[in-house]
C-alpha cells in the first residue's frame, strides 16, 4: 500500500470548494501549456474558470448559456490541436449536451476536457433541477470517455493538470460546496488509480468525490463497533482500477460503495459489475435511490439521503450480516 499522506483530520481540517482546485489547476496549465484553452457557458466565476480567463483572455472563449455550442466548439478546438477545457454546471454539461458529447467528442475521439460543477445534492438550496445525479452513469457508458471525480480541492487541482496530458476525452465532476480538504500536496494521484486510504480487514468501503471524507469519518465509529474497515478512494470511475478493488474485496468479502449520485450505473454499479463477474460478494450501494434531490443545506441533505458517517455505519453492519 502506498502511504496516502492524508491530513490528520481527527485534529482538524479546513473546508474549501472542490472547484477552487480546478480553478488553480487550470491557471497553472495556462502557464505551463500554451495549447490549453477554455470555454464557459456563462458560469465563469461559478466554475472557477475566471482565474484562467483573466490571466489568458486570448485563450478563453465565453459561449453564453449554450451548452450544445460549448462542447461542439470544444470538439472543433481539439480538432485544431488545442486542449479545450469546457465548463458549466453538471446538470447542463453533460446534462443538456449528451448527444454532442457522444458524437463529436467520444465517437470522434477528440480530447475535450468536460467540467461539470455543482454535481450532487450538496448543491443545496438550488434544489432538484440543479442537483445533477445522473452524470456519472451518462458519461461512464460512453466509449473513450474517462470519468473523474476528485475528492477535494487539492486533488481536483492535480486532476486538472493530469487531464491536460491525457489523450482521451475526459469528464470531471465537481461539487459546489465547501468540502473538507483531507488530502495534501504529497497525496498520490494518477488517472486510472484507486487508493487505499485506510487499510483494514473486515469490510471494504469504496467512495468517490467528497463522499470519501464521510467514509474516513466512519473509521472510528466502526472501530468502536469492532469493525476494521478498509477505505478505498476512487477518483477515476472509468477506467476503474479493478486490481486495487479486487485485492480488497477478495480479502474482506463485503463491500459498501458511497457516491453522491444515482446508485444505478454509478460507481456502485461499476463495483457491482466487477464483483459479479470476478468475485461475487454482498454489496450495498449508498447514493441517491432512484429519486430526485430537493432544497436544503448540504448537511441536511446528506443526512436525509443517508450519505453521512452515521448512515455508513448502519449500512456497514447490514452488509456484514450478509457476508458468507
Amino acid at each position: 500500500m502506498v502511504d496516502p499522506k492524508l491530513v490528520d483530520f481527527r485534529k482538524g481540517y479546513i473546508n474549501e470548494p472542490i472547484r477552487k482546485g480546478f480553478g488553480r489547476g487550470l491557471l497553472t496549465l495556462g502557464k505551463t501549456n500554451s495549447d490549453v484553452v477554455a470555454c464557459c457557458a456563462d458560469l465563469t466565476e461559478s466554475t472557477q474558470m475566471n482565474l484562467f480567463a483573466e490571466a489568458y483572455p486570448e485563450r478563453f472563449f465565453e459561449i453564453g448559456v449554450a451548452e450544445q455550442n460549448l462542447v461542439t466548439v470544444g470538439s472543433g478546438l481539439a480538432a485544431g490541436g488545442k486542449i479545450p477545457f469546457v465548463s458549466s454546471y453538471a446538470a447542463f454539461n453533460p446534462g443538456r449536451n449528451y448527444e454532442q458529447i457522444r458524437t463529436t467528442i467520444c465517437l470522434n475521439d477528440r480530447p475535450v476536457k468536460i467540467i461539470g460543477s455543482h454535481a450532487g445534492v450538496s448543491v443545496g438550496p438550488d434544489g432538484a433541477t440543479h442537483q445533477m445525479l445522473e452524470d456519472i452513469v451518462l458519461m461512464r457508458a460512453l466509449p473513450n470517455m474517462v470519468v473523474l471525480s476528485p475528492g477535494d480541492s487539492i486533488e481536483a487541482e492535480k486532476c486538472t493538470i493530469a487531464m491536460a496530458n491525457d489523450p482521451q476525452p475526459n469528464y470531471m465532476r465537481l461539487a459546489r460546496e465547501a468540502s473538507a480538504v483531507y488530502t495534501t500536496l504529497e497525496t498520490p494521484f494518477k488517472i486510472g488509480q484507486a487508493y487505499v486510504y485506510e487499510p483494514g480487514e473486515d469490510l471494504t468501503i469504496i467512495s468517490t468525490g467528497a463522499m470519501t471524507f464521510q467514509a474516513l469519518l466512519s473509521i472510528d465509529l466502526l472501530f468502536k463497533d469492532g469493525i476494521d474497515v478498509e477505505i478505498i478512494h476512487v477518483p477515476t470511475i472509468k477506467p476503474l482500477d479493478k486490481k486495487t478493488i479486487l485485492a480488497s474485496i477478495t480479502k474482506t468479502r463485503a463491500c459498501l460503495v458511497i457516491e453522491e449520485g444515482q446508485i444505478a450505473g454509478g460507481l456502485g454499479g461499476a463495483v457491482a459489475e466487477l464483483a459479479s463477474e470476478f468475485f461475487p460478494i454482498p454489496i450495498i450501494r449508498l447514493g441517491i435511490q432512484d429519486r430526485f434531490g430537493e432544497s436544503g443545506t448540504p448537511t441536511e441533505l446528506l443526512q436525509y439521503f443517508g450519505l453521512d458517517a452515521n448512515h455508513i455505519r448502519l449500512a456497514a453492519h447490514k452488509v456484514l450480516l450478509n457476508r458468507r
Binding site: Q68, G76, A79, G80, K82
Partner: protein, 284 residues
C-alpha cells in the same frame, strides 16, 4: 493545384452523379436526393476551392471541410474517390460490414475526414472551434468550410453557433447551406418553416450570399467572394434541386432517404449520360 475549366468541372460533376447512383444502388440503402443536389458544391470544393493534397491528407496547411449533414456523405465519398483519396472500387463497399465507408462518416476510419457526423446541427460549432484554433496558431489563411443542410437548421445548436461566430469575429470560416427545401417528413416550409432564411442570418450578424447551388461557376465565385469579405462572417445559401439530374427524383422529398433499385438506377444513369435526352449518344 491543378486548374480545371468550368466545362471540365461540369463533366466531373456528371461523373460523380453517376457514381453516386451506382454506389447507392449497390448499397441498397442510403440517401439519394441531398447528395445528388450537392454535387456541384463538392466538385467545386475538391477540384477548385479547397487547399488540399490527396497525397498528404494530414498536410498542416490544408483547408478543412466539415460536413455537418453527415447523411449526405455519398457525395463526399464519391468526390473523394474522384479526387484521389479513395479507390473507386471501394465505393461499392458503402454501408457494408467492415467497410471504411460507414452509413454516416466516421473520422477514425478515414484519415482525411475531419469529423464524424450524422446527428444534425453541430458542424457549424465545430468549424468555429477549428477556426479559432487556427487563429490562435496565427494560421489566418487556413480556411474552414462547413456544408450544412437546410433541414438541420431546425436544430438549436445551429443558432447557438450563429450567435457565437459573429461575436468572436471569426473570418476564416465559410459556411454554405444546401437549400434544397426538403427534409424527411416533407418540404421544409411545411415541416418547420425556415423563411425568411436570409433575413434570419443577417439579423444574427452574417453576410449572406444567395446563389444557384447547381451552377458550378456560381458556387466557385461565391466561395472566392467569401474570402474577400472580412467585415462579417459569410454564409452562402445555395439553392439546389434535390435529386438534381435525375428527373423522377428531382424535387420529391420521398427520395430524401431512399436508394434506387436496379431499374431506377438504370433509368437514372441513362438520364445522366444523355443529360436528360439533350444528347443522343451515351458515353459509358
Amino acid at each position: 493545384m491543378k486548374q480545371y475549366s468550368i466545362e471540365r468541372l461540369e463533366i466531373i460533376a456528371n461523373d460523380i452523379r453517376q457514381d453516386i447512383i451506382r454506389m447507392l444502388e449497390h448499397a441498397g440503402s442510403g440517401h439519394s436526393a441531398g447528395p445528388l443536389g450537392e454535387v456541384e458544391i463538392y466538385t467545386a470544393l475538391y477540384f477548385s476551392v479547397l487547399k488540399h493534397d490527396p497525397s498528404k491528407p494530414d498536410w498542416s496547411e490544408r483547408d478543412i471541410l466539415i460536413q455537418s449533414n453527415g447523411h449526405c456523405v455519398p457525395v463526399r465519398y464519391v468526390t473523394l474517390a474522384h479526387a484521389g483519396y479513395i479507390d473507386k472500387k471501394e465505393l461499392m463497399t458503402l454501408r457494408q460490414f467492415g467497410s471504411r465507408l460507414q452509413g454516416h462518416p466516421e473520422r477514425l476510419r478515414l484519415p482525411f475526414l475531419e469529423s464524424t457526423s450524422g446527428p444534425l446541427g453541430s458542424g457549424l460549432s465545430q468549424a468555429a472551434g477549428i477556426a479559432l484554433a487556427f487563429r490562435l496558431n496565427a494560421q489566418l489563411k487556413r480556411y474552414v468550410y462547413v456544408v450544412m443542410g437546410d433541414g438541420e437548421l431546425d436544430e438549436g445548436n445551429v443558432w447557438e453557433a450563429a450567435m457565437f461566430i459573429p461575436k468572436h469575429k471569426i473570418h476564416n470560416l465559410i459556411a454554405i447551406i444546401d437549400r434544397n427545401n426538403i427534409q424527411i417528413d416533407g418540404f421544409t416550409e411545411n415541416v418547420m418553416p425556415l423563411e425568411d432564411l436570409k433575413a434570419k442570418w443577417q439579423a444574427f450578424g452574417w453576410h449572406v450570399l444567395e446563389i444557384d447551388g447547381n451552377n458550378i461557376e456560381a458556387v466557385i465565385d461565391a466561395f472566392e467572394m467569401s474570402k474577400a469579405i472580412i467585415e462579417k462572417p459569410i454564409i452562402i445559401i445555395a439553392h439546389t434541386i434535390p435529386g438534381k439530374g435525375v428527373d423522377f427524383m428531382e424535387e420529391d422529398f420521398k427520395w430524401h432517404g431512399v436508394a434506387p433499385n436496379h431499374e431506377q438506377a438504370k433509368l437514372a444513369l441513362s438520364e445522366l449520360r444523355t443529360l436528360k435526352g439533350k444528347i443522343t449518344s451515351e458515353h459509358l
